[in-house]
């Protein structure tokens, strides 16, 4: 029983009318006229819905209800809008790319595949391996440095904090192509390393670092000072306090920081075109040779004049989104692991 859910019939009736009437009017307009759908929704439906809800609210709750209804309708409208955007992005990926998906698409490479090869052959296995390898290397570099930076800002609180903050902030504004060019010039062009997963990982690390550092800083700030003083009062050194009490207490948040860092880079194309190059072979040696990745694969195929190549590109985009979803779920599951039991 939920007595607070009970509503008078008049209320139910007016809310139903307020929902149904504008929808009917817009549906009629859609069928009879050729006004484009977005304009129909934003210019006609939203105001109409606002007026209808306002009248309904005024009829049941008086003038006080109007402000309420305006806020509720706008909030629902805004959240529907973001859901629609997301669904249409994923929808278009599915519509155009689902045809390319098959087991061999995930596991084969593109060694004997030309853009005109039908979808029955070849795949992006080599690009998936490349993306995973590059993101792994980038995380290996940027996560420890990012967390250490956050620790410096929140725990050590040294004199350089304002400058460190400033540089981290400035770093988050570095365009991804610049990160790629930077690595290309100082790592690849100098002959230190080939275009490779390692060079690509370095470029990605530059982009990940500010995101990881700033998010980790925010979550470390959320750790109550009680825990720090509690540890210090037990005769702990500052280093042990941070390593054994503060960071474990912020574990979930730090995993979020890593997720956001990965999300920041995983679709970046420009740095990898420059620093990692391209390859149809599957490469597992992070230092040896140029390596493919999903974003560069998409980039190389999506503009080709062959329908199957374009479908493969869309299919790869779909795989990339699924990969991100899997990585995030995995990180959440690891992060949720509770103390005890």
């Amino acid at each position: 029983m939920r007595p607070w859910r009970k509503k008078p019939t008049r209320f139910t009736a007016s809310v139903t009318l307020a929902v149904v009437i504008p929808a009917l009017i817009v549906a009629a307009l859609y069928l009879t006229s050729d006004i484009p759908v977005p304009i129909l929704l934003v210019v006609i439906y939203l105001p109409l819905q606002l007026i209808a809800s306002g009248i309904a609210a005024w009829a049941t709750k008086g003038t006080r209800g109007i402000a309420d209804s305006v806020i509720i309708v706008n909030a629902i409208g805004a959240s529907l809008f973001s859901v629609i955007v997301l669904v249409s992005v994923i929808g278009s990926l599915i519509v155009r790319g689902l045809r390319a998906l098959s087991p061999h698409f995930l596991f084969q490479n593109s060694v004997y595949i030309s853009p005109s090869t039908p979808l029955d052959y070849g795949g992006i296995g080599h690009s998936l391996v490349g993306t995973l390898l590059i993101v792994f290397i980038a995380s290996l570099i940027s996560v420890p440095i990012g967390i250490a930076t956050a620790v410096y800002i929140t725990e050590v609180r040294g004199r350089a904090v304002p400058y460190v903050r400033f540089f981290v902030q400035a770093m988050s504004g570095v365009p991804s192509v610049v990160a790629g060019l930077f690595i290309l010039t100082i790592v690849v062009a100098t002959g230190a390393f080939n275009q490779s997963a390692f060079a690509g990982g370095l470029a990605y690390a530059i982009l990940m670092l500010p995101t990881v550092a700033r998010t980790a800083e925010e979550v470390l700030k959320l750790v109550p000072d009680d825990l720090r003083t509690g540890a210090l009062a037990l005769g702990s050194t500052r280093a042990r306090t941070v390593l054994r009490v503060v960071i474990p207490a912020a574990r979930t948040g730090i995993i979020t920081a890593v997720i956001l860092g990965v999300a920041r880079v995983i679709g970046e194309t420009a740095p990898l075109l420059l620093a990692a190059g391209n390859n149809d072979q599957t490469v597992v040696n992070p230092f040896g040779s140029p390596i493919s990745s999903v974003p560069t694969y998409i980039f190389n195929n999506v503009a080709l004049p062959y329908p199957d190549a374009v479908t493969r590109a869309w299919g790869s985009a779909l795989v990339l989104i699924i990969l991100v979803a899997i990585l995030f779920t995995l990180a959440r599951v690891i992060g949720r692991g509770r103390v005890g039991r």
């Binding site: 009680d226 003083t229 210090l232 037990l234 005769g235 702990s236 306090t241 103390v339």
Partner: protein, 281 residues
């Protein structure tokens, strides 16, 4: 006011209290000498002189904002962690100034434990892990961890409630249990002095009573200094009392100190009498 009247007002049995105050006044474990404290430009404590005899309980009482908590944090060098904090005077522990340049604050905090107002168990550790956390955090070596867990939890009056779920997260305990857990945690490193900053302010009467029993029990082994807003608590647990006061615009200072029975039963200062009778503060 006579002792009888006072007992009447406070609903107390002073005779009973006196009977429990059997600790011999031994040598001083800690001593504050002319301690003054600043936060930035603001002076919050002035010229505090208190002697804490070994294995006794001293209560620090006084209205909010009079500097009791600030003072207790100077005794294990937690005070200096607050940005802008400054201090004059000296704090002696076993006859030596803990603010001497050669003294490592970490070793001081290891011997002078502290329990805070809000229970602060480490959320990333189990109950057992919390009890032993002091050993890990300070790098102290002690054998027989199982025995330490049982001993300290028993001393803190929590053993019976948690002995079957030592592996559970500390956050699953109730507030009162968490507070007794952090007392056990503080005891596991075998401190000589235990500072308690309003340890019962967030607790229900039953948990409060348990912690008070724990304090009385502990005072056979450990010197205890406790900040409290609860007059009855000060009377019930302490041997000595110091009354802090910060009158308008002036830094906090000690108005009167002495045996608890004297401070509550026969105070020399009018302000002490007014405060312990709840007329202000």
């Amino acid at each position: 006011m006579s002792t009888a009247e006072f007992e009447d007002v406070m609903d107390l049995d002073i005779e009973g209290v006196e009977a429990s105050t059997v600790h011999p006044v031994g040598p001083a474990e800690m001593e504050a000498r002319d301690v003054s404290v600043w936060f930035g430009q603001r002076k919050v404590l002035e010229g505090v002189n208190i002697v804490f005899p070994k294995k006794t309980v001293t209560a620090l009482i006084g209205p909010s904002g009079c500097g009791k908590s600030t003072f207790i944090r100077t005794l294990n060098r937690l005070h200096e962690l607050i940005p802008g904090a400054a201090l004059a005077g000296s704090v002696l522990y076993e006859g030596k100034d803990i603010y001497d340049a050669a003294v490592d604050p970490v070793s001081i905090r290891l011997q002078i434990g502290m329990v805070f107002q809000k229970p602060n168990p480490f959320p990333s550790m189990t109950i057992r892990g919390n009890v032993l956390s002091g050993l890990k955090l300070s790098g102290m070596k002690r054998d027989n961890h199982d025995d330490i867990v049982e001993e300290t939890l028993t001393a803190a009056g929590l053993w019976n409630e948690v002995k079957d779920r030592l592996g559970n997260a500390a956050g699953d305990l109730s507030g009162g249990q968490q507070q007794r857990l952090v007392i056990a945690r503080a005891l596991a490193v075998q401190p000589h002095v235990l500072l308690m900053d309003e340890p019962c302010s967030a607790l229900d009467p039953a948990s409060t009573l348990k912690i008070e029993e724990t304090i009385r029990e502990l005072s056979k082994e450990v010197t205890i200094i406790i900040v409290t807003h609860n007059m009855q608590q000060a009377v019930r647990v302490s041997d000595y009392t110091a009354f802090f006061l910060a009158e308008e615009g002036t830094p906090g200072h000690v108005v009167e100190q002495g045996a608890t029975t004297e401070i509550f039963g026969n105070p020399q200062e009018q302000r002490t009498l007014d405060y312990v009778n709840g007329r202000f503060g």
